[in-house]
Amino acid sequence: MNNLKRSLREMAKFPSAVGGGIVIAFLVFLAIYAVVSIPYSEAIRLWRGGEEIWGDNPRIVPPAWTNFFRREKQPTTIIRNSRDESPMTSKTVTEISEDMWDVVMTFDFDYNFDAFPQDLIVFMEATFVEKGPFVSLFWITPDGREIRLGEVTAKPSETYRFAQDERLLRRLKGVAPQIALFADPEKETPTVLKGRYQLQIAAVTFEESADLEAKFVAYGTVHGLAGTDHRRRDLTVALLWGTPIALLFGLLAALGTSVITMTIAAVGVWFGGAVDELIQRITEVNMLLPTLPILIMVGTFQSRSIWVILGWIVLLNIFGGGIKGFRAMFIQIKEAPYIEAARSYGASSWRIIFLYLVPRIIPVLIPNLVIGIPAYVFLEASLALLGLGDPVLPTWGKLIDDARSNGALYNGQYYWVLEPAVLLMLAGLGFAMVGFALDRIFNPRLREV
């Protein structure tokens, strides 16, 4: 306990260690927050669920907070649903004749942005037995113009996409509806006319029990905390959940590898002879094994599960270069008088290895372990970049891979690459900074220079 306190006090002398510690604390907090606020099953549902979960999100848009840095404010997504009780929506049903009813819905919304929305869609759900309701849509601008949009005979589930209505496009003289409907008619270049817009949906139903519900979505060009990807998914989920996965993966891989490597080195040194020789030869062969191609083969032929890959990484690394360093240290410790004392009172070999040899190395092990973490975090991202990411879990590496394969850099969607990259960088730097400081504390020879 005293030792720990002293180490912590030593650490406080290194500004980089303090910085790294803060970064790690932030990431750990983020990881805990992610796991608590979005349970695992919910995260998987949000990330892999389907159109009904992310259908209302715009496609490939930057985060909403980018508006702070823009002169032209980008619109966020506006949704109006006739099922919601809201002063901005209204729905009235009036009987016209014996077998005709008028359903009129109005959706009001304020549009005070400087840019046009990405897309306009009305989703309708009609309940009827034989004949679907006949729907007409109208657009009322802040300056009072009324624009006829289109007519559809609703099926039980009907989608009216403004941009795909050829007749509307012709009426708007070929200008895309999401621009023409919001543009100020007085201006030469398309400029947004700010104010309150109204969408009117007037339907005629032909059955007593028939009904129509509608949802209007004006897709924005910014979204949420982190933006969206090519499948309209909110990146926040993946960024949040990538944190615990990356930390756990890095920690487990580094811990597994270094502890097993150390144990093997201790066993080799203690028993010596053939055992030591065998371990040395295995290390030599292992150095020639192409780790990444083997991991690629595992990913391609066996399983892409992150935990299977983790197992293989540990397996391939336990006979790595680290064994030599540990071996050199154990050879020194083996000659120490207290080991001889232990032997003379009859301690078993395993007792000596695990209770007397290994604990002596732990001060060296800890910096090694911490420095090792970023390498594994990046290794996971590297594999994801090769298309071998875990098929279920959202990880940072998979985000970068998605972004890259969809040409995010080429198309200027930098947020998509930068967000996961910055988090990766934070994780890498945080652990590396703390590890370097630990190394200098525990290895005094380095401290002198």
Partner: protein, 378 residues
């Protein structure tokens, strides 16, 4: 050869008196190393094959392929049109067994794996399933040989540049140790935790996407320029970003590592003595600091070189560099197992060659290996 090139530290003097003896030692050391490496490569390749086979998975792919091919041939065959369903399936079964026996798929796995091994060791890597080389060959060996030069170009230029730049900087820092720039480099050394491809993405973002100065990837412009000089310039332009990415990721930790070596060695007593004798700092550096740290530097360099073959795979993918790494990436996308296994075997060989070359250089510069007890002691 180093005898004339560099002045020797005192303890190596004996070797110059018996050059023939030293040569024999060196030859024995090298041949011993070569032999042990050959054994190691064989075992390594065999393990790779075992892993690649993944409990018979590769065979299953092959069997499925055979069955499908034969079924298609028979269903297309006009003369077999009148056969009943039972007859046809019996015919297919017969042909499939025949083909499987021809390919040796009916033999026990141990036997087959040994045959795979002998084929892999002689680089008979089989035929690719989907990929082909630019010249149209389906042989895995030809595909890989075609991709090897770009990889070597990228890796050789990146690593030599990195090696000399870091060495130069480390020497400079060990001279000015404690200065502001020294402290800055130490503080920046954790940035090397990120691999080269990671910096590559940032570089692409900055220089290709935002500024538009340099290309997004590839090795030459499309279509390739006509003249040799223009072609070389185009390749050079495409080389800048990947090499820079490699440099950034290796630079700070490299400088830090070498600098520490130099500082440790320049605190030795014999350096103090040399300084007291009034030697210039250039001479001290060359004779008493650089020379004894050489084995350490080379070991360090060896480790980077070994790590390089892995880093290259993803760096090439990010920069669309038409090398081995990107081939591997394409092969993964197409599930082209012969190419994946073939690349893994080639990587094992490349690693072995790297290790051997470095052992050899090590033997040349380390007086203990040349003069001392000899034998493989690394």
């Amino acid at each position: 050869m180093t005898e004339t090139a560099l002045p020797l530290p005192p303890d190596a003097e004996t070797s110059t008196r018996q050059p023939s003896h030293a040569a024999v030692k060196l030859a024995r050391y090298v041949s011993l190393k070569l032999l042990s490496l050959l054994v190691a490569v064989t075992i390594g390749v065999y393990l790779t094959i075992l892993i690649a086979n993944m409990g018979g998975y590769v065979d299953e792919i092959l069997k499925g392929q055979i069955r499908e091919e034969i079924s298609v041939t028979i269903s297309m065959d006009q003369t077999k049109k009148n056969l009943t369903v039972a007859e046809r399936s019996r015919l297919i079964d017969e042909l499939v067994t025949l083909e499987e026996r021809r390919l040796g798929l009916d033999q026990p796995f141990l036997l087959r794996s040994l045959r795979f091994l002998s084929r892999a060791m002689t680089l008979t890597l089989g035929r690719a399933q989907w990929l082909s080389s630019d010249s149209g060959s389906k042989l895995v060996r030809n595909i890989i040989l075609e991709r090897l030069p770009p990889t070597l170009l990228l890796m050789a230029s990146s690593n030599f540049l990195l090696f000399f730049v870091t060495l130069f900087f480390a020497l400079y820092l060990s001279r000015n140790y404690g200065s502001l720039i020294d402290k800055a480099i130490i503080a920046l050394s954790p940035t090397s935790a990120a691999p080269a491809w990671f910096y590559g993405i940032f570089l692409l973002l900055l220089f290709a996407a935002v500024l538009g100065w340099l290309p997004f990837g590839g090795m030459v412009a499309a279509p390739p320029p006509e003249g040799t000089l223009d072609y070389a310039l185009s390749v050079l332009r495409h080389l800048i970003l990947p090499v820079l990415a490699w440099l950034i990721s290796g630079f700070f930790a490299g400088v830090y590592g070498y600098r520490t070596f130099f500082l440790i060695f320049s605190m030795e007593d014999y350096v103090e003595l040399a300084r007291a004798k009034g030697l210039t700092s250039r001479d001290i550096e060359r004779r008493y600091v650089l020379r004894p740290t050489l084995p350490n530097i080379i070991t360090n360099f060896a480790l980077t070189l070994i790590g390089l073959w892995q880093g290259a795979t993803i760096l090439e993918t990010v920069f669309n560099w038409p090398g081995l790494g990107r081939l591997l990436y394409q092969a993964i996308g197409l599930y082209d197992s012969p190419v994946i296994v073939g690349s893994a075997v080639i990587y094992a060989y490349l690693l072995a060659i790297t290790v051997f070359l470095l052992d050899f250089i090590y033997a040349l510069v380390d007086p203990r290996v040349r003069v001392g007890s000899g034998g493989a002691k690394l």
